[in-house]
């Protein structure tokens, strides 16, 4: 037994961390958030929405209009005009600007009014596709990396750490099923019919729906008919609900079993949460070291120290649970991993906010983005209730061996 990461696994993680640092540096995140629709994006009360993306750390200018507003739907029901360039959102210095223009062919934005394009970085997405991110589990014979779940969770942990927007899990699930998904040329959503919530509806070319034991694929047109935009609490995760009965289309060829896909989705989402939880610890600790009050770094105050230590107490067991679930691949360990990672992501973001004080409560800070995304992810795939009920039910089944040793 050697639970540590192998050299190759470390290298893989480093490669992706570097790729993300190049293609999605932290300031991009704040800019995307500043550019994203805010509750007052229709120009009502001003506030943080007026934050110019070029000055992410300066205080918000009350009343100023967001440059994002023109190209952004004012209300969830108002259709966005596909192709409307919002390149002005991103400062020119960033290169590879975010625009509907680049993301429409990519995702063939099909649910009019469903947002998403303005926060997804198409360039970065393609770079991930070229690097094989979405095809990590796809066999080499099918053009994938042919790696296992342990490698996949490491990659998703990094994406979660960078809080990379986009339908990451759905696209990885769809690799090999939907043309272009594996290569990063098509964005694909995925959802469990028990939680009919689709992220990034505006950029998804298709969506996998795991309904009981069946895997269905909704194409562009069907998505457009079924998806009802939901005014997402998280500025970086546009959402749509799919309330009605869904058309029964199956993907071409023999679809993989829904339970396997559901378990993979649960685990990959847990890995994203894990990365976010880890990032919150880093951010909190960095702030606690740098911020001075009463003549001392606040990190020297025990109350702050113990908040930070508590974050590690959530993170480390969650990390081991996610990695172990990736190795054993059991449904129970995957559910437990999601349960613990959800909680670590949510509560670490909460504590990170507390450590940041007022700064943490602003739109410009990264903190709320982690918290809101963690809330969204906690509602996707296996929820806390489902995980706990599953694990409870398992306690009453005959047990042969615990811990399971392989």
């Amino acid at each position: 037994m050697d639970f540590r990461l192998t050299e190759e696994q470390r290298a893989l993680r480093t490669t992706l961390r570097e790729l993300l640092a190049r293609h999605y540096p932290p300031h991009r995140l704040r800019e995307a958030a500043a550019a994203a629709r805010t509750p007052d994006a229709n120009g009502a009360a001003g506030g943080e929405a007026g934050e110019p993306p070029t000055a992410p750390t300066s205080p918000a200018t009350p009343g100023a209009l967001s440059p994002a507003t023109p190209g952004t739907p004012a209300t969830p029901g108002t259709p966005a005009t596909p192709g409307t360039p919002v390149t002005s959102v991103a400062p020119a210095t960033l290169g590879a600007p975010v625009s509907l223009g680049t993301s429409v062919p990519l995702g063939a934005s099909v649910a009019p009014g469903a947002p998403g394009a303005e926060v997804v970085d198409a360039e970065c997405w393609r770079a991930l596709g070229r690097a094989g991110f979405f095809a990590v589990l796809l066999p080499e014979a099918s053009g994938g990396l042919g790696l296992g779940l342990p490698e996949a969770v490491l990659l998703f942990e990094e994406a979660g750490r960078a809080l990379l927007p986009g339908p990451l899990v759905g696209t990885a699930l769809a690799a090999g099923l939907v043309p272009g998904a594996a290569e990063g040329e098509a964005m694909v959503g995925a959802l469990d019919a028990r939680h009919p919530l689709l992220e990034y509806p505006g950029v998804c070319r298709a969506a996998l729906v795991l309904d009981g034991a069946t895997t269905r694929l909704l194409d562009t047109g069907e998505l457009a008919r079924c998806a009802t935009p939901l005014d997402s609490l998280d500025p970086l995760t546009p959402l749509a609900s799919l309330p009605g009965p869904l058309p029964a289309r199956h993907p071409p060829g023999r679809p993989p079993g829904a339970s396997r896909l559901r378990q993979e989705a649960t685990l990959l989402t847990a890995a994203l949460q894990l990365g976010s939880a880890a990032r919150s610890v880093e951010t909190a600790v960095a702030h606690a070291r740098g911020r001075t009050q009463f003549g001392r770094p606040i990190g020297a105050f025990q109350a702050v120290q113990h908040l930070c230590a508590g974050m590690l107490e959530r993170l480390e067991p969650a990390r081991c649970a996610v990695y172990a679930a990736a190795v054993t691949g059991t449904a129970e360990e995957s559910a437990a991993a999601k349960l613990l990672a959800d909680e670590a992501a949510i509560h670490n973001a909460r504590d990170c906010l507390q450590v940041h004080g007022g700064t943490g409560f602003t739109w410009e800070s990264e903190v709320h983005l982690h918290l809101k995304r963690a809330w969204v992810r906690a509602a996707q795939w296996t929820t806390a209730q489902e995980a706990e009920e599953l694990l409870a039910a398992e306690l009453l089944t005959p047990e042969t061996d615990w811990p399971r040793n392989s």
């Binding site: 037994m1 050697d2 639970f3 540590r4 990461l5 192998t6 696994q9 342990p150 610890v281 600790v285 606690a288 070291r289 001392r296 770094p297 990190g299 020297a300 105050f301 025990q302 702050v304 120290q305 113990h306 930070c308 230590a309 508590g310 590690l312 107490e313 480390e316 067991p317 969650a318 081991c320 649970a321 990695y323 172990a324 990736a326 190795v327 054993t328 129970e332 360990e333 559910a335 437990a336 349960l339 613990l340 806390a384 209730q385 995980a387 706990e388 009920e389 599953l390 694990l391 409870a392 039910a393 398992e394 306690l395 009453l396 047990e399 615990w402 811990p403 040793n405 392989s406």
Partner: protein, 392 residues
């Protein structure tokens, strides 16, 4: 990320299982928890069985008479013995996990030859005399004094919370021998510099043991009064005034794999709690069900965290690092939560002092205090793992 055990490790497991199958039926019935001589005899008897089977001092280095097993083999040992229902280390804890390893690491060849074999054979029981009435978390504030008198020290002071003191033959005693100014060091280190580590025979004249009753009702620990106790200087481990460093070698053993068997036991209890709730109808309560499901996740993750720490230790020479602090924090909380949830599942039966889970529920309360309180662990995590500035 490999959770599979190697062929050698599996062979070790199989051999151990085979031995446990034949050996355990020969064990006497477990003693009454209030009968201390019987408890000592039982724990020493088990250690003797381990010794004869070649499992004594598994994780000790071979030079110290141990088996030189890897941390992973030690983990397998703890897992399998718990699964098989074998006894815990019990009264052998300090000898096998603190004093012994310290003597092995820091003692002279004579000292090792004198004290280590009887520990391994289950002949001598050690206790730990560190804490004092005015020095608990702040151990370096201890005041028990040892004054040099020729070849001896004369020791006066008192120790408290000394587990198993009333049945121990020896005590690893931390005393003040200097003022701290003998050796250079800042004002903060000086308190730590004047301490020494002595082996105290518990039957020496001037030693008085007064058992203390814990809230669980048994006399698990005691006060130890030292009144001019004469201890030969040859019974000092390490250099004079270097006892703090010597002690740190000891303390780090406490938070390593020591609880691995207990985590396996907790999982068993959790399943029993679920069945009890099903039988008494409380299983219909989704709040209780979810609480138990959550505990299943916690215990599973704790086991994986142990494997993570063991894998690290395997490559850092076997010394458990600060990672043990995170584990201890999480485990002590999970254990307390398990027995709280058990009480909820039992309902009124949880108020029965003789219920089989009552003693565990009560003793679990010590887990966030003993061996470094949770607050102290969080200080360690904050300063040594997260690198936050030193607090006050």
């Amino acid at each position: 990320m490999d959770l599979a055990y190697s062929a050698e490790e599996e062979e070790f497991r199989a051999r151990l299982r085979g031995w446990l199958r034949t050996a355990l039926p020969g064990l006497p019935a477990p003693p009454d928890p209030h009968d201390w001589p019987a408890r000592r005899a039982y724990d020493c008897g088990w250690q003797r069985m381990l010794y004869e089977a070649g499992y004594a001092g598994l994780h000790w280095p071979a030079e110290a008479g141990g088996q030189g097993a890897t941390p992973t083999q030690h983990l397998i040992f703890l897992e399998e013995t718990e699964r098989a229902g074998a006894p815990y280390v019990g009264a052998g804890f300090v000898g096998l996990l603190h004093a012994g390893p310290t003597i092995a690491a820091e003692g002279t060849p004579e000292q090792r030859a004198r004290w280590l074999p009887p520990i391994l054979r289950g002949e001598q029981v050690w206790c730990q005399g560190f804490s004092e009435p005015d020095a608990g978390s702040d151990l370096a504030a201890l005041r028990t004094r040892a004054v040099r008198d020729g070849e001896d020290y004369l020791v006066t002071g008192s120790k408290i919370w000394t587990s198993h003191a009333q049945i121990a033959d020896w005590c690893e005693l931390l005393v003040r021998t200097g003022t701290g100014h003998e050796t250079p060091g800042g004002p903060d280190t000086s308190r730590h510099r004047g301490l020494s580590w002595l082996a105290l025979p518990m039957d020496a004249p001037g030693v008085t043991v007064r058992p203390l009753r814990t809230l669980a009702g048994t006399t698990e620990f005691a006060e130890v009064f030292l009144d001019g106790v004469r201890i030969p200087a040859s019974q000092r481990i390490g250099a004079e005034n270097d006892g703090w460093r010597v002690t740190l070698v000891t303390l780090s053993f406490e938070r390593g794999t020591a609880f691995a068997g207990e985590v396996v036991a907790c999982r068993r209890v959790l399943r029993e709690v679920a069945r009890a709730a099903r039988d008494n109808g409380r299983w219909d309560d989704p709040v209780l069900r979810r609480r138990l499901g959550r505990l299943a996740a916690d215990l599973g993750a704790l086991w994986r965290l142990i494997q993570w720490n063991v894998s690290e230790a395997q490559h850092t020479g076997g010394l458990p690092g600060t990672g043990g602090s995170v584990f201890k924090l999480c485990y002590s909380r999970a254990r307390q939560e398990l027995f709280e949830a058990a009480a909820e599942a039992l309902g009124l039966a949880a108020l029965d002092r003789n219920h089989r889970w009552t003693a565990d529920r009560l003793s679990s309360l010590a887990y966030t205090i003993a061996a470094g309180t949770s607050q102290i662990q969080r200080n360690i995590v904050a300063e040594r793992i997260l690198g936050l500035p030193r607090g006050r």
